[in-house]
């Protein structure tokens, strides 16, 4: 459906060349929802704008719905208005001089050959009711709340049944509570409309809850690509591991390699653990321990693996307790039920619910 190959985009910033996107390739299946996830400045928006044709890339091939819309070597660059897309902008870009209805009707009105007025009306009312905005069609656009603007922007993006919908940080302009709500609604809507969507976000929760596949970007490149669970469980490096959710890291060295991609790792303070790792004995690694995969215990756990640590601080956070423990020179964060409340300075055991992943570390 969307096929991006070797996309490159360089900017000229006051003489210096800034590479915004560097050799990015990915594929989106028809009807799938795909997320570009990464920190600020990693080139997500630039990638999206290249797909939309709002930014001319400096190399690569982009194909939407079987049609090549950009090919650097063949000299093809289809202008934005001829691409079968809909875009939801980060700021929503609702035109303030039109009513809600006219905003949504616009993509239909600029179509050639002209559509009949009755058809335009029907289709607009259809999408408006789809996004739950049927009753405020005649309202002037400036008098909308953030959530309403988001719905109007979405309605406008899908009204002409584009092959591909592009969304740039669609939820970042909403406050926290509304964002939670709209995220669920957006997921439902995308599923119901069955549209192919590419969206950009720096929020891993958003990416994981909305997308079928995620590409994690860094410095203009895709670092890892895959289904949300897959990436979460098997991050390729520390950057991906940390970007997908608060991860504790602790350094060690591989002692012995075990069968089926596992290894015995000795931590800096002398304790040992079995981890998932393909590294050779003697090579330095970093362990990734997810806080929610750790349990606090007063005694050495039998059965599962455990690490001895010292409690540094305990913070009561309502539904749970956050406990920071110290293990050698590493700090590990553990989430526990509110009734667990060890004393600061006390010794505790950390039980590992599953084998952590150990990623090779460059010294």
């Amino acid at each position: 459906m969307l096929n991006v190959k070797g996309l490159k985009c360089a900017f000229n910033n006051a003489g210096a060349t800034v590479v915004g996107v560097d050799d990015v390739s990915f594929n989106i299946e028809k009807g799938a929802c795909y997320a570009l996830l990464g920190p600020s400045g990693c080139g997500k928006t630039t990638t999206l704008r290249c797909v939309a044709g709002l930014q001319e890339p400096s190399g690569g091939v982009i194909e939407i719905d079987g049609r090549v819309v950009y090919d650097a070597t063949a000299g093809i660059c289809v202008p934005t208005h001829e691409r079968p897309i809909g875009v939801v902008f980060q700021s929503y870009a609702i035109w303030p001089h039109m009513t809600v209805f006219e905003n949504v009707a616009y993509p239909l009105r600029v179509q050639r050959p002209r559509l009949r007025e009755s058809e335009i009306r029907d289709r607009v009312m259809n999408v408006l009711s789809l996004v739950g905005m049927k009753d405020i069609g005649e309202r002037p656009a400036p008098r909308l709340s953030g959530g309403q603007q988001q719905r109007v922007a979405l309605a406008r993006a899908i009204v002409r049944n584009p092959a591909l919908v592009l969304l740039d940080e669609p939820l970042s302009n909403l406050d926290a509570v509304l964002r939670d709500h709209m995220r669920k609604e957006l997921a439902e809507l995308i599923a119901r409309v069955g549209v192919t969507a590419l969206f950009v976000t720096h929020d891993q929760i958003e990416a994981m809850s909305l997308a079928h596949r995620i590409a994690v970007m860094k410095d203009g490149r895709i670092v890892q690509e895959g289904a949300p669970r897959e990436i979460y469980a098997h991050p390729r490096d520390i950057f991906v591991a940390q970007f997908l959710g608060a991860a504790n890291t602790i350094d060690g060295v591989v002692d012995t390699a075990l069968a089926d991609g596992r290894a015995r790792v000795r931590l800096n303070d002398g304790q040992s653990l079995t981890c998932r790792s393909a590294a050779q004995p003697g090579s330095p690694v970093t362990l990734v321990l997810r806080p929610e995969r750790l349990r606090l215990s007063a005694s050495r756990p039998d059965g599962s693996a455990g690490l001895a640590a010292q409690v540094r601080s305990v913070t009561f956070l309502g539904g749970f307790v956050e406990c920071v423990t110290e293990l050698g020179d590493a700090r590990l964060r553990v989430i526990g039920p509110p009734d667990v409340s060890p004393e600061a300075g006390a010794g505790v055991w950390l039980c590992l619910l599953d084998e952590p992943i150990a990623l090779p570390r460059r010294e």
């Binding site: 044709g53 660059c77 289809v78 202008p79 001829e82 870009a93 406008r156």
Partner: protein
């Protein structure tokens, strides 16, 4: 805009802006180029391209060896400019401070009264001030003589450098005032509050915070008024000439209309070069000032609610100052004009109210010259305002939204138009259309072209409006399937309409007030009202001259009021 491959049907995205750029070049670069060219062509009474004309440095030599230029024209010009700028800056700052930062009552009312005279053509005001302050029969002098028992002429003599500077400052103060009050209004009061919360006294706060933050914003209008004063022609002609004050604009005019002999095009062009340079220098300073003002982010256009300082026992002097200013700049001139249009030169004390006569007004009804002048004034003001608004908006768009090559040059060129004195613009256009006999010289058309060099007026306004509109509003339209022209007409244009209307209105007022260009390019066919007013006054018909002045105000005022209401209703505001 991907400049190279914009796709089918979107050649307009390149063609239209390119056309705008070409028109801008034609309006500004061609006349200026011709002017520089003419300065180095001779003999002096030949047009630069006439057969027989050749390259020469004679014109340049002539200015260097011209004593009068150094000992009279330059000092007179500098004294006139320096005096006017100082006086209008002081008055404007005081007025702006009173209205924006004190608890003065009736602020909206005073504000309107202060800026109202900007609508009156300077010729009209000049005539009114002569009627008010001429040494023999000026109303003010009559009143002062009656009060003090002074005998002979005076005590006030408008026909002096002091008188000229006073009148010119009265006329330019409202412009400075407008900008200074905007600067004061956009000062973020939390800056001062933070200073006071840090333990600084109000006085310390003023010198340590308020003044340094506002300085760039106050400097810009001062430089702008220098530019405006430098190109003044009306008051130096009407008030200065009888006092033998000889500023450069006047000198250029004299080269073109010598008492005897042929017009000296080369000489006029050569003299205009150093003054053009002076204008551009001031423009450079202005550019720096607005840049550093931007850096302080005080001039954001956002108005804050200001903490107001109680006037206390200064209330009475403050009102007296306001009253005196408004009386001389707006109220008395209007009253005198109306009176003179009814009674001629007869002063109030000696007139019999029953003698009031509408003869002057009535005589215009059957006067073809009046109708021609009225038609020409509107025609030229409206068409040049339309041209400048359209071309200027296009250039603003190119500069803000595209990466087109040469856009910086285009930007600089249009900005330059702000620094070109109108007498020089008139001269340049004159030389162009005398050289190319396309039948424009002496017509209304040449006025439209000459007026239209003021592109900077629009580009600045249009730029501000375009920059307020996030580019994603246009991108959303393109992503909805709209081609370039559709996006421009359905999204951008409606959104910047208030800004464009303000620009149109401003240019219309400037066009109606314009005197220098139509005076320099005068022919019987292209006479406009402002020139006709002066001719009538010169010709000893004060009642007619005043009546025409009153009518001009009466024509412009309602248009402006209506249009402003419309703009405000559209959410814009000039």
């Amino acid at each position: 805009m991907s400049a190279s491959r914009t796709g089918r049907g979107d050649w307009l995205a390149v063609a239209l802006p390119a056309a705008g750029a070409l028109i801008a070049l034609y309006l500004i670069a061609v006349p200026l180029g011709m002017l520089v060219y003419a300065a180095f062509r001779g003999p002096a009474d030949f047009l630069p391209m006439e057969p027989g004309a050749q390259w020469t440095l004679d014109n340049m030599r002539a200015i260097v060896s011209d004593d009068a230029l150094l000992t009279k024209v330059l000092p007179d010009t500098l004294i006139f400019v320096a005096g006017t700028v100082t006086l209008s800056t002081l008055m404007a700052l005081a007025l702006a401070w009173l209205i924006e930062r004190t608890d003065l009552r009736g602020r909206t009312f005073w504000f309107a009264l202060i800026i109202y005279p900007t609508l009156i053509p300077v010729v009209v005001k000049a005539i009114a001030w002569i009627l008010l302050m001429s040494p023999n029969a000026g109303w003010a002098n009559l009143a002062l003589r009656a009060l003090t028992g002074w005998s002979g002429e005076g005590p006030i003599n408008i026909f002096s450098m002091t008188g000229l500077i006073f009148c010119q400052a009265l006329s330019t103060t409202p412009f400075v005032f407008l900008q200074m009050s905007a600067a004061l209004r956009s000062m973020n009061p939390t800056l001062e509050e933070a200073s006071r919360a840090s333990g600084a006294t109000p006085l310390k706060t003023f010198f340590k915070v308020t003044l340094p933050v506002l300085l760039p914003g106050l400097l810009a209008p001062v430089i702008l008024v220098t530019l405006i004063t430098l190109e003044q022609f009306e008051l130096p002609l009407i008030v200065g000439l009888p006092a033998r004050i000889n500023i450069f604009a006047f000198r250029i005019y004299n080269e073109l209309n010598p008492a005897s002999g042929l017009p000296n095009y080369g000489g006029a062009a050569a003299i205009s070069l150093p003054f053009l340079a002076l204008g551009l220098l001031a423009l450079l300073a202005y550019n720096r000032a607005i840049r550093s003002a931007d850096k302080f982010v005080t001039i954001t256009g956002k108005a804050y609610a200001q903490t107001r300082i109680p006037l206390g026992r200064w209330r009475l002097p403050a009102y007296l100052f306001l009253l005196t200013f408004v009386a001389f700049s707006a109220a008395l001139p209007t009253v005198i004009l109306i009176w003179t249009s009814l009674f001629g030169f007869t002063a109030p004390g000696r007139a019999n109210l029953a003698d009031a006569s509408f003869r002057a007004y009535a005589s215009f009804l059957n006067d073809p010259v009046f109708w021609r002048a009225a038609r020409n004034s509107f025609l030229v003001a409206i068409s040049s305002a339309v041209i400048v608004t359209m071309v200027g908006a296009m250039i603003a768009w190119i500069v803000v939204r595209t990466k087109a090559p040469g856009r910086k040059v285009l930007d600089a060129l249009t900005f330059m138009s702000l620094g070109i004195p109108s007498v020089i613009a008139g001269l340049a256009v004159m030389v162009v259309y005398l050289s190319f006999p396309v039948g424009l010289y002496g017509t209304v058309g040449i006025l439209v072209i000459a007026y239209s060099y003021r592109l900077a007026t629009t580009t600045r306004l249009a730029r501000a409006s375009i920059m307020q509109i996030g580019p994603e509003l246009e991108e959303a339209s393109r992503a909805s399937g709209a081609r370039w022209l559709t996006t421009q007409t359905r999204i951008l244009l409606p959104l910047i309409t208030p800004g464009l209307l303000s620009s149109f209105l401003l240019l219309f007022i400037i066009g109606m007030r314009e005197f220098t260009i139509p005076f320099v390019l005068y022919s019987q066919e292209n006479v406009v009202m402002s020139v006709l007013i002066w001719q009538l006054f010169q010709g000893g018909q004060p009642a007619h001259s005043a009546a025409l002045g009153v009518m001009m105000i009466a024509m412009v005022l309602p248009i402006i009021l209506l249009a402003r209401r419309y703009i405000v209703a559209r959410g814009g505001g000039a």
